[in-house]
């Protein structure tokens, strides 16, 4: 039984050690969730577990608790940053996903109660960057073969060396637990520390993808464009002269075929940039102009 017992002991050691930097995050009724120590008195967690803005209690092992304030939230990546009333003694070593392979063992850690909990699986799927339905950019797609138990969201996914690969959440994809990788967590944390929120470009239109008429498909080489179904008052879209029924074909000369393309055109680096907006209106292609605004 030596290899098995050895494995068993090793797993328990990793859980015990990394588990010291996993905290309980109690900010909702009906069950607390988890958080992971980022550094010093900063804890990252899943945004969706914070259903209120105050009265956030953090369990730091055994019966010890402390209060926390929200530094900032990013609903598009389902991350949030908390500052604790006091430092947690332990920290996690956060690592990138470069050496990670499908089939590697990984442990999901959580602390929805007083004690650390663990789930064991393998890395089931790895992918490149992807966009969440709320428009966030996640730099790697990381999925384990086990679905996390309620209360694990906000906790870390750790390697067999006890290093954190990212933050677990059930709030980004239906019925699936994914891990937001360290690189994305770092970007979000850095921006939240700097300004308390994440900047995004903003046009102010509600859209729906639509198939282009055959002649325009030939002309533009695009199958679809985005029909404007609403325009927010005072928005950059309104200032450009966009009205309901216009079909957006391109922004800043980049084709806009799907929701993803619109988000790409409204990246952080485009805030304040003056752009052309090519539209199809009543069968005619027209060029409008606007300056991309900022959404909080």
């Amino acid at each position: 039984m030596t290899v098995l017992s050895s494995l068993s002991g090793d797993l328990a050691s990793i859980v015990e050690s990394a588990g010291k930097a996993v905290v309980q995050v109690d900010a909702r009724r009906g069950g607390a969730a988890s958080g992971a120590v980022w550094a010093n008195d900063l804890v990252v967690t899943a945004n969706h577990v914070l259903t209120r803005d105050d009265n956030i209690n953090i369990g730091i092992g055994g019966d010890s608790t402390t209060e926390a304030t929200i530094v900032g939230r990013d609903p598009t990546t389902d991350l949030a940053l908390l500052r604790l009333g006091k430092k947690v003694g332990s920290s996690l070593e956060w690592t990138g996903a470069d050496g990670l392979k499908v089939g590697h063992f990984a442990l999901a850690l959580g602390r929805p109660g007083k004690t650390v909990r663990a789930m064991l699986g393998i890395v089931s799927a790895l992918g490149d960057g992807w966009r969440t339905s709320a428009g966030g950019t996640i730099e790697r797609y990381i999925q384990m073969d086990v679905s996390a138990y309620p209360g694990f969201s906000g906790g870390p996914l750790v390697t067999v060396e006890g290093k954190a690969l990212g933050v677990l959440t059930t709030g980004l994809l239906r019925e699936t637990t994914v891990t937001v990788p360290t690189s994305t967590v770092k970007s979000v944390v850095d921006e939240l520390l700097k300004q308390g929120h994440i900047s995004r470009g903003y046009l102010g239109v509600g859209i729906q993808p639509a198939r282009l008429p055959s002649e325009l498909r030939r002309q533009t080489g695009q199958e679809t464009g985005l029909i404007v179904i609403s325009v927010e008052t005072g928005s950059p879209g309104e200032k450009a002269g966009l009205v309901m029924g216009d079909t957006i074909l391109a922004i800043g000369d980049k084709p806009v075929r799907h929701w993803d393309d619109l988000l790409a055109a409204l990246g952080k680096d485009r805030i304040g940039v003056a752009v052309n907006v090519r539209i199809l209106r009543a069968g005619q292609v027209q060029e409008l102009k606007t300056t991309i605004g900022e959404r909080h």
Binding site: L4, S8, E16, R117, V146, S147, Y149
Partner: protein, 197 residues
């Protein structure tokens, strides 16, 4: 690859060994669940929720089916002790559930969805103190492995092949709860004065 192969072989050998202590428990026309041999002279442990009403029938590892007597049934602990007229059954060496640590490897045997003598593996998730159903007054062992109807009453063993729990309920697709073996020991000692070996 050698450690992985060794691991494979060890887990398979462990499963084979524990199967000798796994029985099927059928009550009336119900789907059927599992039971764990506790003593060579025919003492079987299972969940209380598995037996009730009709007299249970137990199918032993050698294929024979016997009628069982319900010696004691404790609904709030969800444990029941059955007696069958058999000898030389194989009990599993008893472990210490108090020493269980989150992360350590465990194996569960039972008959999930009627698949006989099925094995699932995973780790101890944590101590169950934080999320008890009111039905279970004792601490339960939370395990990160798949349990389904038909696993109830079956054994949970550690990497050394010792009995550490009686599988009792599923709480998610990859998680479940087991009654700690220390609770079962105390239950049997009190209810029928069984000696723990």
């Amino acid at each position: 690859m050698s450690v992985l192969h060794q691991l494979n072989d060890e887990v398979a050998a462990l499963a084979e060994k524990v199967k000798l202590s796994l029985v099927q428990v059928r009550c009336g026309r119900d789907g059927g669940a599992a039971g764990t041999v506790w003593h060579p002279d025919g003492l079987i442990l299972t969940n209380a929720h598995v037996v009730g009403g009709a007299r249970p029938r137990v199918r032993l590892p050698d294929g024979s089916t016997l009628e069982a007597r319900v010696l004691v049934r404790h609904t709030s602990l969800d444990l029941a002790a059955l007696a069958v007229d058999a000898e030389e059954l194989c009990p599993i060496p008893l472990g210490d559930s108090g020493a269980l640590e989150p992360g350590q490897f465990v194996l569960a045997l039972g008959h999930p969805w009627g698949i006989k003598n099925a094995v699932t593996a995973g780790i101890v998730m944590g101590a169950g103190a934080d999320y008890l159903d009111v039905k279970y007054p004792q601490r339960l062992v939370a395990v990160n492995l798949s349990l389904r109807p038909g696993n109830s009453g079956g054994p949970l063993v550690d990497s050394a092949g010792r009995l550490v729990g009686i599988n009792t309920m599923m709480t998610g697709p990859d998680s479940g709860l087991a009654i700690p073996v220390n609770v079962a020991k105390a239950f049997l000692k009190e209810e029928i004065g069984a000696r723990n070996s």
